[in-house]
Amino acid sequence: MTATTKSLRRWGAVHKWTSLICTLFMLLLCITGLPLIFHDEIDDLLHSQVKPAEAPAGTPPANLDHLLANALARAPGRVPHFLIWDRDEPGAVWVSVGPTIDADPTNNLLVRMDTHTGAYLDSPDVTGRFTYIMLKLHTDMFAGLPGKLFLGLMGILFCVAIISGIVVYAPSMRKLRFGAYRAQRRRVVRWLDVHNLAGILLVAWTLVVGFTGVINTWADLVLKMWQFGQLAEMTAQYKDRPVPTKLTSLNGAVEVARHAVPGMTPSFVAFPGTLFSSKSHYAVFLHGDTPLTSRLLKPALIDAETGTLTDSRDMPWYVSTLYVSQPLHFGDYGGMPLKIVWALLDILTIFILVTGVYLWMRRRKAGVSVERAIANAASIDNPALTS
């Protein structure tokens, strides 16, 4: 056996095992990911929302202190964690409230407010929604951080399977033209052609979506890193100060942030004591206005006792990487046509997974493993497999 054949067999084994281990989970991810591409449209279809009041262009936004007071009046005994401007609906602002400031924010109540009047709109419970269940299955299978990291590991295996797949594509195609589909042959041959064709056509997309998905599973860790890194550095002088008893104006804090970072728009505010801020600061996160810069956030830390700017810095590279990887995973950055293309590519990925499992089962039955098929490139024409 030549060195090349030996190395190809090894690649074949890598392709087989990495694929087999991750396939079931990748199927789950592809199937739950499909409706998630259209989560906004599905939510609009299934759930009615109170519409914000019509506001002619140029209507000034409501005072945020007033808006916050209205929101808290609807959530007695709760404290605000975050104030979030709706990305898609400029007429709405969300206030995320929890029982205490250090409570787990994933269990928070979300209160939706009118941007221009500051009036209460509604506070939908999203946890029962179809899209929420899909999202939980897709991100952590209801198993929290361990579930997330596990799916990340499956994603890494998926990427290795794709790369090894490129290598074993070569011996498989030695006698075939690009795009060959032997329609007259038995199913095992036809499905091998589908597997090879779809697999090689989608290489770039599956690698990018797979790897950005892996990066997303590290989001919690990246946040922690930022908290103990840049955020701690920026607020070092406040470390031993007592927590402010009375908070300065939220509206004022956002104004100070706007002036400190000209040309950027506030995206959300983290209240003092939450994961995204120190105990003594409002952290106002601002974004740019191109598809790319709208994903990159820049925090401005406002002293919550004096209302003055403490510091504002660009986020470190590892946070920016996470933010840029999100649209590349979600496919939500090029309008509805891109979403549809994303869905079609997702369906083709399901084809690749299903045909892959089928080929493995058939070859196992026929006693022709991927490695052996590679060692003997002609074995795809083996009479045991083809008619």
Binding site: M173, L176, L292, L344
Partner: protein, 60 residues
Amino acid sequence: MVAHRSLTQIFAVPLVIAIVSTVGLISALVGDGWWDAVSWVALGLPVLLYLLFIWRRRPN
């Protein structure tokens, strides 16, 4: 069936498609309007080619 093909022959088309896909993935991130349209076409290409190759050789 064709004669044995070299690695260059095998990977020429896939390489072009991978480059076009990458352009499509980045394009919509850079801007809106035409940039989005480039994305739709570039990423739609693999889907289109798939359908083309499968349908062209489908048995009657």
